[in-house]
Amino acid sequence: MTKNAVMREIEIREVCLLAGKIMLESGAETYRVEDTMVRIAASYGAESAESYVTPTAIIFTLEGEHPTKTKMIRIITRGTDLNKVALVNNLSREIHNGKWTVSEAYQLLKEIEKKNVTYPIWIQIFAAAIASACFVIMFGGRWGDFLPALIAGGIGYSWFIYIDRFVHIRFFSEFSASLFIASCAVSSVYFGFGEEVDKIIIGSVMPLVPGLLITNAIRDLMAGHLIAGLAKGAEAVLTAFAIGSGVAVILILFS
């Protein structure tokens, strides 16, 4: 009997950790991850649970009638896949309503983790290109720069995806992508195809800009998640630096 209870606690802990891991890897906010993990544990009747989430690791403790169990997992890859966040969120709501048993929930989470629900690459690139071109108009650029930004943004983003697969140093893929974008912009203006280099570069760089990270970092800091906020802030600054230096190299070469 007690052995079963211990096993059950271990299972609950695994479910919570897996849910937290998927959410954090998909770009959910830190406080939401902590909240979801504790909620799932509470739904399964754990007496008390504590989770400590940073962008690089999760520590989770489950307290029951039996000796307290703690486990830590590392988060190595971080991306943005909001679909998965929504799926786990949904599942946690269903767990709260008592729809799934512990082992069923674990199976479902495993499926979500493996699932590849991203849009096809060409749609993503197309979206990035359209967004780049639209930003030119939004920032007060001329329609003549619409097409160059579309092309530069599309090429830059596809290069970013391509390189990101081989080289696991984020900095390098961002740097080289912005290098590409800036040289596309400069050459399009040189050949009389576009009009303003600045506007084209700003627009096409937007899909790479860590805007969400910056805002999230400040949000985390304000919520009192100091470590998470600083870590995200560092990541954002590094990304911004990579993009900035990529563009800077081209500007120095051609000015």
Partner: protein
């Protein structure tokens, strides 16, 4: 103005696709982004500074996102992403960087400070609207209890 509407909608929806939001949320994402940008542009055209304008726009973006999140039972972050991206001071950051490159540190530092202020304003806008939401929830709970 019409083109501003169109392009901000498309840009925010495009970002929705890049960040892989669920299919049925893409248009809502675009809508949130469009409203946020519209508010921002309206204030900036009245010669308001970018910092308070970003604050107000971010506030409304987060407010709409909270309403949507409640209606469609999806995490708030899905809607805020699309709405916030157009407000992010990408252009300013670029300008700052360009001045650093040409050794004009004086202007560059000024612009960089502005970037930080705008980013802070966006974050404060989001936090304010969360507080707003929380107070509303509390009041509603108290009403229900009565």
């Amino acid at each position: 103005m019409f083109f501003q509407l169109m392009t901000s909608f498309a840009a925010a929806a495009g970002f929705g696709i890049i960040f892989n939001v669920p299919k049925n949320s893409i248009l809502k994402c675009g809508f949130t982004g469009m409203v946020g940008w519209l508010i921002y542009i309206a204030f900036v055209e009245q010669r308001m500074d970018a910092v308070p304008a970003s604050f107000i726009a971010a506030f409304f973006v987060a407010l709409i996102s909270h309403v949507f999140a409640k209606w469609y039972k999806t995490p708030v972050i899905i809607f805020t992403v699309g709405g916030i991206i157009p407000l992010v001071p990408g252009g300013l950051a670029y300008d700052a960087m360009r001045h650093f490159v040409i050794n004009d540190y004086y202007t560059a530092i000024q612009l960089a400070a502005k970037v930080l202020l705008v980013a802070g304003a966006i974050a404060i806008g989001i936090v304010f609207s969360e507080v707003f939401n929380e107070i509303y929830k509390r009041m509603k709970m108290r009403e229900d209890r009565m």
